[in-house]
Amino acid sequence: MNWRTLITSRMLFWVVIGLVLVGAGVDVVRHYLDSADGPKPARSAEAPDATLNSPRALSAIDLVDGAGKPFGLASFKGRWSLVMLGYTHCPDVCPFTLSNLAAVHKEMAKRLTPDEMPTVVFVSVDPERDTVDKLDQYVRYFEPKFRAATGTKPKVDRFVAEIGGFYEFGRKRGEGAYEVNHSAEIFVIDPSGRLLAKLEPPLKPAATTELFRGLVAAYKSARTSKLAKRPGKDES
């Protein structure tokens, strides 16, 4: 082997090293520039907001629960309920909201008395795809105490109208897939079976619990004053 070959391979070696170093340098600089305007923190969630209406008494409700048993007005009376509309073929918003509700539920369990604890009810507006047993399994995944309800389309429509909610089916796509646009609010129903408030997402555990405690306190004091007034009819 002569020295020319040796020089060539030696020079090639250094040329290649040089190129690699320059390349790596460019990558490092680029990475630094990227990370400078890289991942930003998630948009800070706003505090939940209750749209307080004058309480609306609900009337005929004729749904079925996750066990296939009737779920009517009587199921709402005597307990607090948080109702959410949705459908199980919803991979993003519904599981996100149910996960947030599970966190709210956990926080409420720490701060509310058992009689103040609301029942979370997931009402499917897509009864064609959401059978009751499927629904039951679905909601209990997020929190074993959550309940599911649905019904035939006219009965679901009636319920949605009762609570002032909304839903609409999207266009059918390939393989029969379709989306359902629906109210994202959480409907608060008091133990007298009246729609009391709508909670706007996102739901933060501490803030939502605080807001809910306010609703419970207002409800209790209204009841107390009503009861207190009864014996003193002659005064008014």
Binding site: V16, A42, H89, P91, N100, P202
Partner: protein, 171 residues
Amino acid sequence: MITGPRVMSRAMPNRLQPTLIAATMLLVALMAIRPALAADKVMVSDPWVREAPPNMSMHAAYAVLHNKSKAPVDLVSAKSPAYRMVELHLSKIEAGMATMVKQDQITIPASGMVKLSPGSFHFMLMHPRRTVSAGDRIEIIMGFADGKSQSFQAKVKKGGGMSDMKHHHGH
């Protein structure tokens, strides 16, 4: 100056030469790999798949897509060996309404990023070929408008509410 390397090379023992050639070849190989790595215009960070309740046929995958190039990049399709169908979707929670619309493309701005996250853009994973549960790794292959594709792995996670997402960003 020119004589320098000659002197040095003459001084170098012949048995070093195979080592030198091997090192050169290794570096050339590295050079060949480097452009392939740099060709990934999009950097994927924080990928995850939301674990769904049992027997659900729809899952959602999220990630932050960073565009390292000086031109916008259009994500036009996605697929996964673990699912029969994958689509790009945009959810919105606005004025008390939750909506979801299939997207033909998601544009990642030049030198910018798009955050795929709950209540916003996401990969909609449909009809899993087998049970998908927390801890699994799902491969997602993104297709871009220029015909190129790029894949990444996303870990399936349980939970995925707001309070859990804080932990995602904490690591």
